[in-house]
């Protein structure tokens, strides 16, 4: 897994999935449809990504299309760097 994905994964596991087995969170696990990120969690994740990677995520990007899986999140971050 890429470094970007690893960092985001670690954050999600620590913040929103305490007790989960790290290997079960794969790059295609549905984060929003799968009940892992609710609206407040999504906002916290966006703040984390913005500060960690020094990018700006627009309000309309904070949705299931762009943040639905770790793979989607990596794609979003890469597109902005």
């Amino acid at each position: 897994m890429s470094d970007v994905k690893e960092q985001v994964k670690r954050f999600i596991l620590e913040e929103f999935l305490p007790g989960a087995e790290p290997e079960e969170l794969t790059e295609t696990t549905p984060l929003i449809a799968g009940g892992i990120l609710d609206s407040l969690a999504t906002m916290k994740l966006v703040t984390f990504i913005e500060t960690t990677f020094g990018i700006k995520i627009e309000a309309h990007e904070a949705d299931e299309d762009k943040l639905g899986t770790l793979r989607d999140i990596e794609r979003l971050i890469q597109s902005k760097r």
């Binding site: 087995e21 079960e24 449809a33 799968g34 009940g35 892992i36 906002m43 309000a59």
Partner: protein
């Protein structure tokens, strides 16, 4: 009425389109007392549906468009709707789920997107095809059912709170007196339409000829998008659960926009943490702030205007306030007898705003009401309160296992019933824990069947398929055994200490 980004509709057009829906419903044989559902995102179409259904003399049954289709199908089958107005993308799954539950209401299907309102095309098509005659708006009686709102049920199935024309109108008349809307007002509709806050949001501005600004679910959760919208739409009266106001205060960048139009902020549904309320008031000092309280069964039954400014040292939440003038409130002990002022007890309510009961749940109805010594019935809120020295009620907690999260009412038992459906689950205990950021978090203790290994991610996904997202537990813990009481029931007190 404005649906930002999607269009707007005048009163004349709302009247015309809801008239067409009335004519169609009458044409298909709908009569007073029938139930008609709608499964639509909040939109001009859903408001046209509300008024079309009411004009036909029927009661409307809104569902959460984000909830699983099986849950919504249960609701429609439960109250025997005659028809459902449904968006194309939900229609096929809904049809299949309804069939499974042995129900076959007519589905009136509207397009997913395109020119708003999409329902207009459907209704005009029906009129041309069927040569619909103009029918008269049904002249409702005060005891006619106006709408049924389903809330979380402790037995694992949602329960339908039946509200009559009198229930709605007595509440709206109280709102008129208290909030004094005029044609110049612009009111937010933030809450979803299956939520009781929507009764004020939609019907009160329309009663006064004011403008309604519809806020879709996605924008409504997103402080960064919502803050400029409230300013840009020149909203004068805002009403929502406290959670989004707390997010606006923290993440909304409220200092960057002009809120000079905003004259009152109403909130209801849960306790507003004073820390966030104070921040909000510092950022928006001009509007008046009101804490409204009441379960779906009564709509708002007490209210309290928050004094300004909030003292720096205050941490204690504000009272829920005094009884609304159209209702009577009383605090009773466990035997149903009134307690002295200042003593703890359960808040009970009666009056024209109070529900007649739940759809087809006689046992729950019997439990929900208390008969006093004169034989008068009082609705038991299940909320424990005291009356303070100023005559305000102060909320203390719940008598049972219901919690509020982001303004939504959650029966912890419904989450447990869901988890028990999982084949690897042996035992479950769900509790709510207070949380500074989230208000409350839902924590599930789950014991596995045999040697099975449970997965947090798999259980979250399992719940997300069956429950609305606000009911998916935030935290899972897998203890080897759940603590039990001497009578072999799950020991919730012990779980809280784990």
């Amino acid at each position: 009425m404005i649906d930002p980004g999607h269009g707007e509709i005048s009163y004349a057009e709302l009247d015309r389109l809801s008239g067409l829906l009335r004519d169609y419903l009458h044409h298909t044989g709908v009569v007073a007392g029938d139930r008609i559902g709608f499964f639509l995102p909040k939109s001009i179409d859903s408001v046209v549906s509300i008024y079309g259904i009411l004009k036909a003399g029927a009661a409307y049954v809104p569902v959460d468009p984000g909830a699983p289709a099986a849950r919504n199908a249960f609701i429609f089958a439960n109250c025997g709707v005659r028809a459902v107005i449904v968006q194309q993308r939900f229609a096929e799954t809904l049809h299949a789920e309804l069939k499974e539950q042995g129900a076959a209401p007519e589905l009136i299907i509207v397009a997913d997107s395109g020119e708003a309102p999409a329902l207009r095309n459907v209704l005009e098509g029906l009129r041309t095809q069927m040569g619909l005659a103009v029918s008269a708006t049904h002249h409702s009686n005060p005891d006619d059912l106006a709408y049924i709102l389903y809330t979380s049920g402790s037995t694992g199935k949602p329960k339908g709170v039946m509200l009559t024309q009198r229930n709605a109108l007595s509440f709206l008349d109280w709102c008129s007196e208290t909030f004094q809307l005029t044609e110049q007002d612009r009111c937010s509709s933030h809450a979803p339409l299956h939520f009781d806050l929507s009764i004020l949001d939609i019907h009160l501005p329309i009663k006064h000829g004011a403008a309604v600004v519809l806020i879709d679910e996605k924008t409504g959760k997103d402080a960064a998008r919502l803050a400029p919208l409230i300013a840009g739409q020149r909203i004068t009266t805002w009403y929502s659960a406290p959670s989004i106001l707390a997010l606006l205060a923290q993440y909304g960048g409220l200092g960057q926009h002009d809120y000079s139009a905003l004259r009152q902020i109403l909130f209801a549904g849960e306790v507003f943490p004073v820390k966030h309320l104070r921040t909000l008031q510092q950022l928006l000092p001009r509007p008046r702030y009101y804490n409204l309280y009441g379960p779906t069964e009564t709509n708002v039954c007490t209210y309290h205007e928050i004094p300004k400014p909030i003292p720096e040292q205050r941490t204690q939440p504000y009272p829920i306030g005094r009884c609304c003038s159209h209702l009577e409130c009383r605090v009773v002990d466990e035997h149903g007898m009134p307690v002295a002022q200042g003593a703890e007890g359960e808040l009970v309510v009666r009056g024209p705003g109070v529900t007649q009961g739940y759809w087809s749940l006689p046992e729950q109805n019997a439990k929900a009401f208390l008969a006093d010594t004169q034989g008068d019935l009082w609705y038991r809120t299940g909320d424990l309160v005291i009356e303070d020295n100023d005559g305000n009620y102060v909320y203390l907690g719940r008598r049972d296992r219901m919690v509020k999260k982001r303004g939504y009412r959650i029966e912890l038992g419904e989450i447990e019933s869901c988890l028990y459906q999982h084949s690897d689950v042996e035992e479950v205990g769900v509790i709510a824990i207070p949380d500074e950021d989230y208000g409350v978090r839902i924590k599930a203790f789950v014991g596995a069947r045999g040697e099975k290994r449970l997965s947090v991610i798999a259980l979250k996904a399992f719940c997300a398929e069956r429950l609305p997202n606000y009911m998916v537990p935030d935290l899972f813990v897998f203890p080897p055994r759940l603590p039990r009481t001497s009578t072999d029931k799950i020991d919730y007190q012990a779980l809280k200490a784990l």
